[in-house]
């Protein structure tokens, strides 16, 4: 059984998340961003993460839009991919970083008693 997906993230050029149903925080998006992989996703995949379209991720409403985005990036020099992945990585680490999460949880636990 696969114990971690990290090697797949690190070996990939683009993380595609065509999510059209369900709700909730997409930890897979956070994981991809923290691994420094540019993300192409639907608005639903961005739920809770709130990456900014074009600047921090490629966001498309439907499959045809995603195909066009893949083609555009495939034919580009890759600078957009690098910039987008760096921005997403920075944002995700600053908002959802483990240190920040643990500090908040510790505060909440202490507050309750």
């Amino acid at each position: 059984m696969l114990k971690t997906c990290r090697s797949f993230y690190w070996g990939s050029t683009l993380f595609i998340a065509p999510i059209f149903s369900g709700a909730g925080m997409r930890i897979k998006i956070l994981e991809a961003a923290s691994c420094g992989i540019p993300i192409l996703m639907t608005p639903l995949a961005n739920l809770g993460v709130n990456l900014e379209g074009s600047k921090e991720a490629f966001i498309e409403d439907d499959i045809s839009g995603m195909i066009e985005s893949i083609k555009k990036n495939y034919n580009s020099n890759g600078s957009d991919l690098v910039n987008v992945s760096k921005s997403a990585n920075k944002k995700v680490r600053s908002i959802f970083g483990i240190e920040k999460m643990n500090k908040l949880y510790d505060e909440i636990f202490s507050e309750l008693l």
């Binding site: 059984m1 696969l2 114990k3 997906c5 369900g22 709700a23 909730g24 925080m25 997409r26 930890i27 897979k28 956070l30 994981e31 739920l47 809770g48 993460v49 709130n50 483990i98 240190e99 999460m101 643990n102 949880y105 510790d106 909440i108 636990f109 202490s110 507050e111 309750l112 008693l113």
Partner: protein
């Protein structure tokens, strides 16, 4: 301070499982963490941090299963002097709500998703932790919390 985490399943491809393991691994030493789940394939996440979750092989969807889980939790909390219960799933949030009248305990529920149904029985914890502003806004608008 003793904290009991509750999750339905601990799976490798599950962000909540990952989050729980990170809380246990990195939180302050003043907290003693306990974890109860109903199964899953992600126990290896906890082996790596030398932590043994308690796994209950009970069917949460049956009334008898739910009752058994409830009674187990009641006994476990008393036996281990649990002070805080942190539910990571709506199922346990509801179950723990029924524990409150019979024992002195503080409760937290982490909320990862938008929910619309079963409002009467949902999210009764003393403290709700929304995973994002989107979920927080959803709660404020739709559940008036």
């Amino acid at each position: 301070m003793k904290i009991l985490h509750l999750q339905t399943e601990l799976n490798l491809a599950c962000g909540i499982t990952r989050t729980i393991s990170q809380i246990i691994k990195n939180s302050s030493k003043e907290f003693e963490h306990h974890l109860i789940a109903l199964g899953g394939n992600g126990l290896s996440r906890f082996e790596t941090i030398n932590f043994n979750p308690k796994i209950l092989n009970l069917n949460r969807f049956s009334l008898i299963g739910a009752l058994k889980i409830y009674l187990f939790l009641l006994n476990y909390c008393k036996e281990h002097s649990i002070q805080i219960i942190h539910s990571h799933h709506r199922y346990f949030d509801t179950l723990v709500w029924f524990l409150k009248p019979v024992m002195k305990i503080k409760t937290i529920t982490s909320v990862q998703s938008k929910v619309f149904g079963k409002k009467v029985f949902s999210y009764k914890a003393d403290k709700l932790i929304a995973c994002s502003k989107t979920i927080k806004n959803h709660f404020l608008i739709n559940l008036n919390r």
